[in-house]
């Protein structure tokens, strides 16, 4: 019990120390003030929310909202306007295929050989017969995608999700999931290719396409949340945590489901 409490406290402190590393303004400093332990219900609620850096997180939520309003959303809307669903599906397939090597590595680290084998087959089949991943013939052969990442791998290893962290530009994350960022950065097929100007352009293009495609997938959803939620920040936090929990349980139970 004591160890658990200490671990949680340490994790909270880590988040409060790590997040200011991302901050440029001293005005943003500070973590949420915990209610006294004697106030049992409020203290339990505070622990459950597990968002000690909430003031800072909310600041970046507002920043990202502005970036979204003036850049990402217009770009995503434009992308939707000039494409149809089949084209967007092909783009999603292409982006998904580039992520398969990272999924393969993570499934191996998670001790899920069947899912790792599926990721390998998917990458080989879609990269060749699927013309670089633009098509997804592997899914038609029964090798459907299951998503994972290093944050999920750490979860499978037993690391708790830790405090919630809302990142500038990148959005919702957590003390555990944040470790996915460096891993994802290096675990792409482009990292294995010899450096060249063409590869650099391809990498930037793929990243841009990935971001716009991902945002386009949520055009209606984000609008709806902003229009209906009383506190959109808390709503996105809840959605993020629920979806990560569901994803982790799906992997742990080996209950792979097809991707959309």
């Amino acid at each position: 019990m004591r160890i658990k409490k200490l671990t949680k406290t340490a994790a909270s402190k880590m988040a409060c120390l790590a997040v200011p590393g991302l901050l440029l303004s001293t005005a943003l400093s500070g973590c949420a003030t915990a209610p006294p332990v004697s106030d049992t219900a409020d203290y339990q609620a505070y622990q459950q929310i597990n968002d000690p850096a909430e003031p800072t997180n909310r600041f970046f939520f507002k920043v990202n909202d502005k970036i979204d309003t003036y850049a990402m959303k217009p770009l995503a809307q434009g992308y939707v306007d000039i494409t149809n669903q089949p084209i967007r599906d092909h783009v999603n397939d292409f982006v998904t295929n580039i992520g398969e090597p990272a999924r393969l590595a993570n499934f191996m680290l998670e001790g899920k050989p069947t899912l790792a084998g599926t990721a390998l087959v998917r990458f080989l089949v879609d990269s060749t017969i699927g013309i670089g991943g633009i098509f997804d013939p592997a899914a038609k052969l029964g090798y459907t995608e299951t998503d994972t990442d290093f944050g999920i791998t750490l979860g499978v290893w037993g690391l708790p999700e830790g405090p919630y962290i809302y990142l500038p530009v990148l959005g919702p994350s957590g003390a555990r999931d944040i470790w996915n960022l460096p891993v994802e950065y290096f675990a792409t097929p482009m990292e294995a290719a010899p450096a060249s100007e063409a590869l650099r352009i391809f990498t930037y293009s793929e990243t841009g396409l990935h971001l716009i495609s991902a945002r386009a997938n949520y055009l209606g959803t984000v609008d709806q949340i902003n229009a209906t939620a009383l506190d959109p920040y808390a709503t996105f936090r809840s959605l993020y945590r629920q979806s990560r929990d569901a994803q982790l349980q799906q992997i742990e139970q080996g209950n792979a489901s097809p991707a959309q």
């Binding site: 609620a45 995608e145 209606g220 629920q242 990560r244 929990d245 209950n255 489901s257």
Partner: protein
């Protein structure tokens, strides 16, 4: 990409749904009954959404349908959570009134984005006290959406008590949303009621 990557998985949602079992203590609805109920309710929903009626007419029809097939009061009490013990009887009554209004607004907002939809009922799986019926909703120009409907027996009849999309529960999300407003205002339920009233006023002004 996280949300999209999850198709509804009843198994994946089990722990979440187990937590929510406080809405209606009743016998579990048999799978076939729940599927038939969702199929019938879903077809009614599809008929309204795909009709040529105006948005306001559709909203009125949907409001009526929702009151029939959704356990709104039970969901409202779940959403209010522990603050139900803090709220006065008057506040509780006011909360439920506002909750009904906001739920109608949320549904109306969603139908604006849909036309020409179809709903296919898939399997059903028990979870806690609920029976979750999985469906696929197809809309032109959109990727198919898998939606789970948690059905429970309320006052002797099957009712929808939750909607689950991509592993996320509507009532848990709403509960966390509302709780945040109360917590940010020192535990005052009146602040939540004000926020809800403000939102209703905004809607009326649109």
């Amino acid at each position: 990409m996280y949300l999209r990557r999850f198709i509804l998985s009843a198994v994946a949602c089990a722990p979440m749904l187990a937590v929510m079992s406080g809405t209606a203590q009743a016998q579990q609805v048999p799978a076939a009954t729940a599927q038939a109920f969702i199929n019938q309710s879903g077809q009614q929903l599809v008929t309204i959404v795909n009709s040529s009626a105006s948005t306001s007419q559709k909203a009125a029809q949907l409001h009526q349908l929702v009151e029939q097939i959704v356990a709104v009061d039970q969901i409202g009490d779940y959403v209010l959570g522990r603050y139900i013990n803090v709220a006065t009887p008057d506040q509780h009554t006011q909360f439920l009134q506002l909750f009904h209004e906001l739920l109608s607004y949320n549904i109306t907002y969603q139908i604006k984005a849909y036309a020409g939809i179809s709903l296919v009922v898939n399997n059903a799986a028990p979870l806690g006290d609920d029976m979750v019926v999985n469906t696929t909703i197809n809309a032109p120009g959109k990727a198919p959406e898998t939606v789970g409907w948690a059905v429970d027996e309320v006052n002797g009849a099957p009712k929808i008590v939750d909607v689950i999309v991509a592993g996320t529960s509507l009532r848990i999300t709403t509960r966390n949303d509302y709780a945040s407003v109360v917590i940010d205002n020192g535990g005052a339920v009146s602040a939540l009621l004000n926020a809800m009233q403000n939102r209703v006023t905004q809607i009326a002004a649109q």
